[in-house]
Subunit: 191 residues, 2 copies
DNA sequence: CCTATTTTGGACTGATCAATACAATAGGAG
DNA sequence: CTCCTATTGTATTGATCAGTCCAAAATAGG
């Protein structure tokens, strides 16, 4: 056919994702994306149409991975529901070894949601997925007698998402693991 | 002496503050700041040395006002402590009529804290003030028997701050008042 | 009125932005 | 080997960025 690609698209998206995650959308220049991915400008613009499109791919990748993890642990019928919820909160307290501080979804919601309708909609769709998984788990917890009957599962689910967001903001501000863990522990008492 | 100023510095800082609050630091151009404040470039650079300095003033103003409110309500000995805490959470659920969505402190922590040490330090100082006010109120609540004895006041204070941050992120993402109120209500159950 | 001094408007600066143009390159298909 | 085509590196685009310059304007003090 023709000259083959020298790079893997997935690796490039992963690298771009981490750059956006660390510095935010506006503060990440296309030059920085070239350096982060190791690609030239042509390869980036040839593969992804624009900085914004690359960001969309990066955000999508982030959401797919993280949300899949959440859905998986929340659906794990072999563990008590409260333990599953505590695991989700725990992830927000113990960040990956060399991950940037905070959470790309929270960062994007703060920086872009109010002025980028496309991104806002994608964030909304992702949040709906996490919300559904939480509601299902919480309702299971109610049936199992782990969670007080009569509690509004949807309200609790929103509460869990909000708590994780708050912890991500705190982490972004430099909060240490102990502080984050104490927040997670406290938050569990409302459930 | 000389030609007098035609504008009030406070009004300009207020206008700039709202611009940064709505769009973020990077996405707010100096041109946009001119339009928001109604000043010319010369006046802005003559009065505030740079975009970054103007942002610092705007952020300081925001923190001073908001934190003063929080400290005031938390120190109001005429009301039950839990009511005072609920009021603070309530502010995060019912935003000002024509305020931008979310919270400038949360936005700055997300966008700037990891890469702007000066801003990070100022945010840290402000958070310490809010933390102290919360700790004092919570300890008062414990003494008054409103809050279970033996609970870690500092951990609870961090939890309240994190909850407010989470709600601000949700608001930034477009959450409605009902959802935010339900989060505040749920959060109170951990206290 | 006149001068000293500050503010103001608007043109301008070099740097950097996202994005494009294009020729050189590389490799599979024939 | 040769051609076709996609990829790549580099130079370049026009726009916009934050910030500066300077002359005109304005006013309080003398």
């Amino acid at each position: 056919m023709a000259r083959p690609r020298k790079f893997e698209e997935e690796r490039a998206v992963e690298a771009a994702m981490r750059a956006f995650w660390a510095d935010g959308y506006e503060a990440t220049s296309t030059q920085a994306l070239c350096e982060a991915t190791g690609l030239g400008r042509s390869s980036i613009y040839n593969t992804f149409r624009s900085k914004h499109d690359l960001f969309k791919k990066a955000l999508t990748r982030y959401m797919d991975v993280k949300t899949a993890n959440i859905i998986e642990v929340l659906a794990d019928g072999s563990r008590p529901v409260r333990e599953r919820l505590r695991t989700v909160l725990g992830w927000a307290a113990e960040p990956g070894a060399d991950d940037p501080a905070g959470c790309l979804v929270v960062n994007a919601m703060v920086e872009l949601a109010p002025r980028d309708a496309v991104t806002a909609e994608r964030l909304g769709k992702d949040q709906a997925r996490r919300l559904d998984a939480l509601v299902a788990a919480i309702e299971e917890g109610v049936r199992a007698g782990e969670i007080e009957p009569g509690r509004d599962a949807r309200a609790l689910a929103h509460y869990v998402i909000s708590t994780v967001s708050g912890m991500r903001v705190a982490a972004r501000g430099g909060a240490d693991r102990r502080t984050l863990t104490s927040i997670a522990d406290t938050a569990m008492q409302a459930i």
